[in-house]
């Protein structure tokens, strides 16, 4: 058995389990005024401080959400509405062509339903946005731009964006910039204050916290229009009774992830490098997608994204799954149909090559035995998948 899908979700850390479960049996709404409420509120505020410290933010800059997706929606829709309300000319959204669907879809919704326009920034062949590309786009009618959104690190191919430079460019034009740091947090050094973005999305279960909790780091000058109206918890930006157990869990995970980040990143990167080297020995025609400079400033340490020409990704996934190896084809819609990845297409990949790819992603629980398991099975799996691919082509 080998779990090579940490980018989808990574096992929860024991410290996060302990922090969450300690809260599950206790009563107290953090917004209540009595002792039980105050006890719960204290847990939430301590968690907020812990999470803020882990990501270089002030506690008041942390807005807890139910997920990274919700954080993205709040940032994009909320900032678009707020900016447009302040100046009706600001209807343009600038984002990269390789965003996650949790960014693409809210933007597309704003275009379809809220009169927004979008510019998808092109990327180079490794999936990177150049600061000059962004600058050129922002120089064009900058007064019409509502918000910029560029992910910190790509979920499929692991490419790390020059996010500090991109933030600077946005600020040259005084335009708020959001970054989806769901894949970066816990693996790269994410320091909110130092990097200067206006909004940063995080997801607990990607760095060892529980599922169902995320956060939006938000500068205090940033006031998005809320998506969820109600009791006004979380700075009046996000309502809903605070989920004390999950919040305690995400904070515990953030603390551990930050404390062990540097050593874990290099351990995981070394394991990933070994995986790629041995994979290419077994399957010499395999193509590594994304940045082949594997250093952490270029590529997420746990990410290996590989195309196997002549094979279909979903055949490979199924065959590996049957041998106890969990990996991913990249993006899948809710019914589970794999489509050629928009990320690879934006990078200029051939659609057939895009369909032939698999993502292996490593994380805190990965060991050499996971790599051994994959390498032990990949040869015959490729052979079978290639035969199936040939059968499909012959049937046309």
């Amino acid at each position: 058995m080998a779990y090579l899908d940490h980018a989808a979700t990574t096992p929860i850390l024991p410290e996060a389990v302990a922090a969450s479960t300690a809260q599950l049996g206790l009563v107290g709404n953090p917004s209540s005024l009595h002792a039980d409420g105050r006890r719960a509120r204290r847990v939430v505020e301590e968690a907020r401080e812990t999470l803020a410290a882990a990501f270089g933010a002030r506690p008041s800059e942390v807005v807890f959400t139910s997920s990274g997706t919700e954080a993205n929606n709040l940032a994009l829709k909320g900032l678009y509405w707020a900016r447009r309300a302040a100046d009706p000319r600001r209807r343009r959204i600038v984002a990269s062509a390789v965003e996650h669907h949790a960014v693409i879809d809210p933007i597309q919704w704003l275009v379809d339903s809220e009169g927004a326009e979008v510019t998808w920034l092109p990327v180079d062949e490794v999936g990177r946005v150049s600061p000059d590309t962004l600058r050129r786009e922002l120089a064009r009618e900058s007064e019409s731009i509502a918000v910029v959104s560029i992910m910190w690190a790509n979920n499929e191919v692991g490419t790390v964006q020059p996010i500090h430079q991109l933030v600077q460019v946005a600020h040259e034009y005084a335009i708020p910039i959001h970054t989806d740091a769901v894949q970066a947090a816990g693996h790269l050094s994410v320091n909110f204050d130092e990097m200067g973005a206006d909004a940063v999305s995080l997801s607990g279960h990607k760095f060892g916290g529980p599922l169902g909790v995320g956060a939006l780091l938000l500068t205090r000058s940033c006031s998005p229009v809320p998506l969820i109206h109600g009791g006004g918890q979380e700075r009046d930006v996000r309502s809903g009774t605070l989920d004390t157990p999950s919040i305690a869990g995400i904070a515990a995970a953030a603390h551990i992830a930050q404390a062990t980040r540097a050593s874990e990143a290099s351990r995981i990167a070394a394991l990933r490098d070994e995986l790629l080297v041995r994979l290419l020995e077994c399957v010499p025609e395999a193509i590594v997608n994304g940045d082949t400079r594997l250093e952490i400033q270029h590529r997420l340490p746990g990410n290996a994204h590989v195309s196997f020409p002549g094979c279909e990704g979903d055949s490979l996934l199924m065959l590996l799954d049957a041998r106890g190896i969990s990996c991913s084809t990249g993006s899948a819609c809710s019914a589970g149909v794999a489509q050629p990845s928009h990320v690879l297409l934006a990078m200029g990949a051939d659609p057939d090559i895009a369909r032939s790819s698999l993502r292996f992603s490593l994380g805190h629980s990965s060991t050499r035995s996971d790599v051994d398991a994959l390498i032990g099975e990949i040869g015959p799996v490729i052979e079978r998948a290639r035969a199936a691919g040939a059968a499909a082509r012959a049937g046309r």
């Binding site: 669907h101 693409i104 979903d314 055949s315 996934l317 199924m318 065959l319 799954d321 049957a322 993006s331 819609c333 809710s334 019914a335 589970g336 149909v337 794999a338 489509q339 928009h342 079978r384 998948a385 035969a387 199936a388 040939a390 059968a391 499909a392 012959a394 049937g395």
Partner: protein, 361 residues
């Protein structure tokens, strides 16, 4: 055996898969994403997925504790089934898309891929039986006469039948629902699907109009007298009585039926019921499910999915089969299959090309 079970999200394929599991096979469930109809499927950048059916299929696999995947065959399905369906109607014929799907998708695209991936067979919830003897796989009618689907499977060639499994062939539909309930499958009470899956509202004429456009033409009697107009001859099927929209009733007040469709002149010819009867059918290409029969031979012929099989003599001339029916049959539509039976056994199938009237003999 390693078995790939096609699970649609309906009760039949669910019980079929469960029987394969119970028989000790190594079963993997696959749901086929076939259609891109916006009413039932999510379409757009990520293609199409039948959300509700795929969720039901996934729950079936969960309960059976077998792996579950979705295979996207929408592109193949569009080319081989939907486009063929439209082209056939445009040519004045009446196609059967389920038959085409079995021939081109389930037991071709899916089966080929399954075999290449190391599976031994594909299992579906069709009601039909396969008798294996002497290295041959003989397609037979299902035990449940009302549900028998051998007609839409008769297009399968011997090598396809060799790798096909129909675990429901010996069962009654009512027992299948009961079995699903006992197994705790939530689809036990899901209604049967009757419509063409890519026309969920059941309005075939409107679907054809949308895709083929409106082409005004005449509805005439056998003497060429114009009795009415239509918006596309493809909206009609030989034998059709309802929805003709004739301007006036026939002198004898008897109902009129579609006798023939002429796509080139875009003319629909109607006439009284007694002119509908045909006794001669020629069809091609022929598929012999288990090898060609000696010509001529007597058999029973079924000319539509839920029709009765009637006695006939079949003569084979090359790839063409000529069928002489003992008694005239009504509403035999070119494009449908004529399936030849020897008792319960399926002998072969042809696509109906031309028909000849009883009185022309």
């Amino acid at each position: 055996m390693k078995v790939l079970a096609a699970v649609s999200g309906g009760v039949d394929s669910a019980v079929a898969a469960s029987r394969m599991v119970a028989a000790g096979h190594d079963v993997t469930a696959v749901h086929l994403a076939l259609s891109s109809n916006p009413q039932t499927f999510r379409s757009g950048a990520r293609g199409c997925c039948s959300l509700e059916d795929s969720r039901d299929a996934r729950r079936v696999a969960d309960v059976l504790a077998i792996p579950y995947y979705v295979w996207d065959l929408a592109e193949r399905f569009k080319e081989d089934v939907v486009d063929d369906f439209l082209a056939e109607y445009a040519a004045g014929r009446t196609p059967n898309p389920c038959l085409r799907c079995n021939e081109q998708i389930k037991f071709s695209a899916v089966l080929d891929r399954a075999l290449a991936l190391g599976f031994d067979a594909v299992c579906t919830g069709h009601y039909a039986r396969i008798q294996r003897s002497g290295g041959k796989s003989i397609l037979m009618r299902a035990l449940d006469e009302d549900k028998d689907q051998s007609y839409v499977l008769a297009v399968l060639r011997q090598e396809q039948l060799q790798h096909a499994l129909f675990p429901l062939g010996d069962s009654l539909k009512s027992d299948i629902r009961e079995e699903a309930r006992t197994l705790g499958l939530l689809v036990a009470d899901k209604p049967d699907s009757h419509d063409i899956c890519f026309i969920p509202d059941g309005d075939t004429r409107n679907f054809l109009k949308r895709h083929l456009g409106e082409h005004q033409g005449d509805i005439v009697d056998t003497d060429g007298v114009v009795l009415g107009h239509h918006e596309g001859s493809f909206g009609y099927t030989v034998g059709q009585r309802k929805g003709l929209g004739l301007m006036e009733a026939a002198p004898d007040r008897a109902p009129r039926y579609v006798l023939s469709i002429e796509p080139v002149s875009n003319t629909v010819t109607v006439g009284p019921r007694d002119q509908l009867g045909i006794t001669g059918i020629t069809g091609e290409p022929v598929n012999w499910c288990g090898g060609a029969s000696e010509s001529p031979f007597s058999c029973r012929v079924q000319v539509r999915a839920h029709g009765e099989a009637v006695p006939a003599i079949a003569a084979v001339v090359g790839d063409v089969v000529e069928l002489k029916l003992e008694t005239p049959q009504l509403g035999v539509a070119p494009g449908q299959a004529a399936v030849m039976y020897d008792g319960e056994r399926v002998v072969g199938s042809v696509t109906i090309g031309n028909t000849s009237k009883a009185r022309e003999r």
